[in-house]
């Protein structure tokens, strides 16, 4: 059935479907029960599935992920919520040293079907620690998979696939897009979780992004089209693994690549993409791979975030610089 849903509601529906179809699926996190989460992503789930399956936890992120690991060892499939991006770090130890490595440590005998949901990114005028994009800190860790949907339909289906995965998945939710509505077909057959999508075909340059920056890149492509430039927009959807084949295919056509993310450029996913695409497409590239992202500074106070975050003009500027080579 197809209906228009906000991204947050699409995740809510996806979680509901998972709870209905598999008794082993649990929801855990701070305020996920009665309140339905601070963004209401888990709204109504505790009411319908009970406190033993939708679990309000103590305020302790390491405890949330650590107990989720134990529940996974017992055969459960926990979906845990970290309330905000900047609050994941108490759990970082459990995620990196335990969650990511348990399958390998056990020589494959133990599986870790745990989803860690993290609302991330800025642009909502929040206080410190509520606007960060820490995906690269997780992408560097083998054993984890990292995805980030850009729209309601992907949010619905990627959550289904993340819960079905036997690997731990860090699910980065673009919080500033929570209220954006899109058509969600709950009977469609989704594509592979880690495959990128061409959301706008073009011929002159490729813009690659994921999560909250995909919408921006589409706006950039619109603006560039008015100037007669044809930009291709790739929604990467997955940060680990990254679908380099799709980026390569696009760049072999357009010969230019600009990567956009909110996270700091330094050691960001754009750096990895630039390095690999330079290797793969050395003779196709007409310009170095350019990156647009956050600066090497703490995420600024809300009144400054417009300057810190990639915006239409900053991306267009990078497009112009690339095309000038």
């Amino acid at each position: 059935m197809a209906e228009k849903l906000a991204l947050a509601k699409a995740i809510n529906e996806s979680l509901r479907r998972a709870l209905e179809s598999d008794d082993k699926v649990l929801i855990m996190g701070e305020d996920v029960g009665k309140l339905g989460g601070v963004f209401r992503v888990t709204d109504g789930l505790q009411k319908d599935f009970g406190e033993s399956r939708v679990i309000d936890t103590p305020l302790a992120e390491s405890g949330i992920v650590g107990t989720a690991i134990g529940l996974a060892l017992r055969g459960y499939r926990p979906v845990v919520e970290i309330q905000f991006d900047g609050f994941v770090f108490p759990a970082y130890d459990q995620i990196v040293t335990q969650l990511a490595k348990m399958h390998a440590r056990s020589l494959g005998k133990v599986k870790m079907p745990v989803v860690v949901r993290i609302p991330y990114g800025g642009g909502i005028g929040a206080v410190e620690h509520h606007s960060e994009s820490p995906e690269s800190l997780f992408a560097h860790v083998a054993g984890l998979k990292i995805v980030s949907p850009s729209n309601a339909s992907d949010a619905y289906w990627m959550m289904q696939q993340a819960i079905q995965s036997d690997d731990p998945v860090i699910f980065f939710e673009p919080k500033r897009r929570y209220w954006d509505k899109a058509e969600v077909n709950t009977e469609a057959i989704p594509g592979p979780l880690h495959k990128a999508a061409v959301v706008r075909p073009g011929t002159d340059l490729t813009l690659a992004a994921y999560g909250p920056m995909v919408k921006l890149c589409q706006e950039v492509a619109d603006a560039a089209a008015e100037e007669g430039k044809s930009l291709e927009v790739l929604d990467l959807r997955s940060v680990s693994p990254i679908d380099f084949d799709s980026i390569q295919a696009s760049v072999e056509k357009t010969r230019r690549l600009v990567v956009v993310h909110e996270a700091p450029v330094f050691f960001g996913s754009g750096a990895e993409i630039a390095a690999r695409i330079t290797e793969r497409c050395f003779y196709h590239l007409e310009a170095p791979v350019l990156r647009v992202g956050g600066y090497h500074a703490p995420y600024p106070p809300a009144r400054l975030e417009e300057e810190y975050l990639p915006n239409l003009d900053r991306v267009l500027d990078a497009v112009d610089r690339s095309l000038a080579y």
Binding site: G63, G70, L73, G108
Partner: protein, 401 residues
């Protein structure tokens, strides 16, 4: 004949205890309350059923948990401790011979591990640190399986679900949260299995341990926290970890904590059985502090002479867990010379078997690096495996190795 029938008549407590009454369950806990804080002169209560001299002392509260222990079972506990110590000594030697990269010895902690390990049912689940060789023995994990990670051929070579014995956890305290989550799952499943989490005095300072106390208390999880306080976290004494006796921490989280003589295998068996019974009965978590001593180095890489004197070690040697059970077995005629001689032979055979198994342990295939990184696969791992294979193959092309 049961153990209880040979018990001494006078209740005993640890030296220096000022509490005026015997250690009934209730008294133990109320005493813990009285002792909470740092009042000068208050000594913690210690459950002890077997003195260092091998005398069985009566304990109104815990005797019933070992009342049915037969002489044969006592000999079994003795055998477990002796074989565990023999295995441990062999592993230390193998490290010295270069066969293992590292070994973390359990010397001195045999009673804490065998007593608690033998209290468990098959369907219970164990979350160890990296020193629970005695508990592994009780669970039926082949000792040679423990050595793979110390030899460097894997990071844990056994199937955790094969013996309900989780992999060794090296990051201090992490496993207490896994145990708590697992126990939450056990409770959801509606079975009366219990979970036990091992950790040490050093780990008691970790946030994860505090969080596991919080979670287990809030969700009333059927978990036993078994802290082996062996007095030393590498070079740091327990005073650097806590201002109160560790078992008293439980009170603040809302569940009982008990200190047991960790070198008394009967005491550890009794107290762990009590704690497991609480878990099965839906009474939630329990903290057991087994007061013991790490007789050896932290690991084979450590040098304890830099931070502790030999007098301390000698004082603890007099409380040796194996010696005291032997005295008791001999005094009560529960074991004869034949038993000890046979066990000696069995020990040597175990040492030989372990030695040979380790020396025969092959290095893993190079491509094991890329195995089991993910359950469902990952494009980058596939790509890098292929690159590695091509690199390896390039040597063959050159006629090299």
């Amino acid at each position: 004949m049961t153990v209880e029938s040979t018990a001494a008549r006078t209740p005993r407590r640890s030296a220096g205890s000022k509490a005026g009454t015997t250690g009934t369950k209730r008294t133990t806990r109320t005493t813990a309350k009285k002792d909470a804080g740092t009042q000068k002169g208050t000594e913690p209560q210690l459950v002890q059923l077997l003195t260092p001299e091998g005398k069985r002392v009566k304990n109104a509260e815990y005797d019933k948990y070992v009342a049915g222990v037969t002489p044969e079972e006592l000999r079994g506990l003795y055998r477990d401790m002796v074989l565990t110590r023999r295995f441990d000594a062999e592993a230390t030697s193998l490290q010295r011979q270069g066969e293992l990269g590292l070994w973390a010895s359990l010397l001195g902690q045999e009673a804490a591990q065998i007593g608690s390990g033998r209290a468990l049912r098959d369907d219970d689940y164990v979350f160890p640190t990296y020193r629970e060789h005695g508990v592994a023995w009780c669970r039926g994990v082949d000792p040679t399986n423990l050595l793979g990670m110390f030899r460097g051929v894997n990071n844990g070579g056994w199937d955790p679900n094969g013996n309900n014995f989780h992999l060794y956890t090296i990051v201090i305290g992490s496993q207490t949260l896994h145990a708590t989550g697992y126990a939450m799952g056990v409770a959801k499943d509606g079975t009366d299995s219990a979970v036990i989490a091992y950790f040490g005095d050093g780990a008691s300072s970790q946030g994860d341990v505090a969080e596991s106390f919080t979670f287990s208390a809030v969700y009333n999880a059927p978990v036993v926290f078994f802290c082996q306080n062996n007095q030393w976290a590498i070079s740091e004494p327990t005073e650097k970890q806590s201002r109160v006796p560790i078992y008293q921490r439980a009170q603040g989280f809302g569940f009982p904590g008990v200190r047991v003589d960790g070198n008394d295998v009967l005491g550890c068996l009794a107290v762990t059985r009590w704690a497991l019974e609480r878990a099965r009965a839906g009474e939630g978590p329990t903290l057991v502090e087994a007061f013991t001593y790490r007789m050896g180095a932290h690991t084979t890489s450590d040098d304890p002479t830099r931070y502790r004197g030999d007098e301390e070690r000698q004082a603890w040697e007099a409380k040796d867990p194996i010696l005291r059970l032997r005295r008791y077995l001999e005094d009560s005629n529960h074991a004869d010379e034949g038993f000890f001689a046979e066990l000696e032979d069995e020990s040597e055979a175990l040492g030989k078997r372990v030695r040979e198994a380790v020396r025969a342990m092959p290095d893993p295939d190079h491509f094991a690096i890329f195995e089991n990184v993910y359950a469902d696969g990952h494009a980058l791992v596939d790509e890098e495996r292929a690159q590695f294979a091509a690199y390896q193959a390039s040597f063959a092309d050159e006629g090299g190795n």
